[in-house]
Symmetry: C2
Subunit: 337 residues, 2 copies
């Protein structure tokens, strides 16, 4: 119950100094000098809220670079908001730091936060800092704005909608396997690509808001395409048929799949894609390519919504693939260990 | 990367079943079936936001009853909002559960959440559930509403304001010492009182909003009166003089203090009070007693704001007390161990 030793007080002061500049752009953050933040919401707008936690040894490696840990935390949450069609503008951060975290690490962590706050137009408006005898545990609450009634939900898909996804599938899952030493013979440039996709997601924050009013349903793929599309299907009371040959794959994924076709299951069920899967009525499907092009994001039409519940992935002959793995569970999981 | 074993899936399903009813009253929670929540803010109102984390072994004992852990988490955050003059209405919860957490524990935890959601008029509108190889780590983001410009900040105190605090001082700190076996000779009824004050804070959610427009500054006392009032003083560019003999003490605290006057330092610096300290211009000070009475909360005038920086606690003769302990630091701390 006594005060902490002086070096801890220094650490406290350092955190305050490092984080305060990230709040400057938002008056309601009160300079992080109060226990609470104030927020005004313009008339005609709704808030979109999301909250994600990341634990060292579960969602990232404890020795990942501190700036990349901070940036992944931000991007995971930005991805959720973008998939709702929202413009992210603020975050609150709660960090449980283990005792081993030092000043250099904190500086680098704050650098990463600052870089992505600038890049995504975010203000840090509040949060909490505590100590933990366990692993580094980070929780972000992220705030986005969307026009009243314009948010794209999971539940809005219609029978016959075209299913699209952004970017490429499963690179982060392969990146994790690569870091576990699975692909030692992969050319370094391809391995680097996979590593980066695991370490630093690229949320589709430009395209996401432009899908509002066009997409019937959307969500970000964080726990594997089959599982997440399954959530969207259930919330919409529908099913989906996905064509394996239309799945967008990176060069690295194609290279590995040529050697080991069984990896397709990993691509379809692996976490950390942070791409958007969304459904669009067929009559608007031809607008998507140009919209995505303008946003600098690739998209692929990968299948159709249907009335039959469940997600079916078909091979080139229209036969359903047997997918033993259906996705990533967060509870009692072992990812990143 | 493989799916979790079936009992974990059961646990996932249980969490979903247990938490979903807490979201029913809030349409924007989307039944907790989406990755995000939607929130409308009525014209003329501002949001007040706060976020607090609690770690087993740091902020509570890992073997504390699960329902009381949940309720303390809610109350700690409600206390922050009440001290800003805000009406709490929604929470988001992120929970990192250790593997040892079982179904009975989860049921009891959800019971506690549900009870306090009902008692404080809160909806659970979203969050995250992850696993951790470390201690149970809980983070709550809480949302309150306040009339535009009506929030009571730390920074508004004026020279000459009367300093008030609600409830009694330091009981939770004594409750912690009691649980560590320090007060074995204390009568059981007094010890129970202290234990309860440590386990289950009583946020002043009725009085808090009624102070809007009357109090110049306010904050909740969570890290010790001297430290927290020090924050308020710094944010207001002032200092405060507190009269030790006017500090509101419980029977249990008086009993222990009679034996060991040195415990006054613990009362003044101990955490977890979750009372409100607030400042009121002298011409309105006489309204406070009735207001507090109506709200069912006791208040005490404990001192004055002054131009000289710092917090001074005076004895009955007006001499400053030497307080070696100035409060509770969250970083690298040892509370609850």
């Amino acid at each position: 119950m006594s005060g902490a030793p002086s070096d801890d007080r220094d650490e406290f002061a350092l955190i305050a100094r490092l984080f305060a500049p990230l709040a400057q752009s938002y008056p309601g953050a009160l300079g992080l000098g109060d226990d609470a933040a104030l927020m005004d919401v313009p008339a005609g707008q709704q808030l979109v809220l999301t909250m994600d936690s990341m634990v060292a040894g579960v969602h990232f490696f404890a020795d990942d670079p501190a700036d990349l840990i901070a940036r992944k935390l931000i991007r995971v949450n930005v991805s959720d908001l973008a998939a709702k069609g929202a413009h992210p503008f603020a975050i609150m951060l709660s960090a449980a730091f283990p005792h081993a975290v030092g000043m250099d690490w904190l500086r680098r962590f704050a650098d990463g936060l600052g870089q992505d706050c600038r890049d995504y137009g975010l203000a840090l408006i509040g949060g909490d800092t505590v100590s933990t005898p366990g692993p580094l545990t980070l929780t972000l609450t992220a705030f986005g704005r969307v026009g009243q009634g314009q948010a794209i939900l999971r539940s809005g898909a219609k029978d016959g909608d075209v299913v699209f996804m952004t970017g490429t599938l499963g690179d982060a899952a392969l990146g994790l396997l690569s870091r576990q030493g699975r692909f030692d013979r992969l050319p370094p440039s391809l391995r680097d690509h996979l590593d980066q996709r695991y370490l630093l997601p690229q949320p589709r924050h430009v395209l996401g808001p432009r899908l509002a009013g066009l997409a019937h349903a959307a969500m970000d793929v964080s726990d594997g395409l089959v599982q997440d599309l399954g959530h969207l299907c259930r919330q919409s009371g529908l099913g989906a048929v996905i064509r394996a040959q239309d799945l967008p794959l990176s060069d690295a994924a194609r290279h590995l799949l040529a050697d080991d076709p069984g990896l397709l299951s990993n691509l379809l069920s692996g976490g950390d894609d942070y791409e958007i899967v969304f459904t669009v009525p067929p009559e608007h499907a031809d607008k998507i390519a140009r919209l995505a092009d303008d946003a600098g994001t690739s998209v692929a039409a990968i299948g159709r919504m249907c009335s039959q519940a469940g997600v079916v992935v078909q091979d080139g002959q229209g036969r359903p693939l047997d997918l033993a793995l259906t996705g990533w569970r967060h509870f009692n999981d072992t990812r990143g260990k």
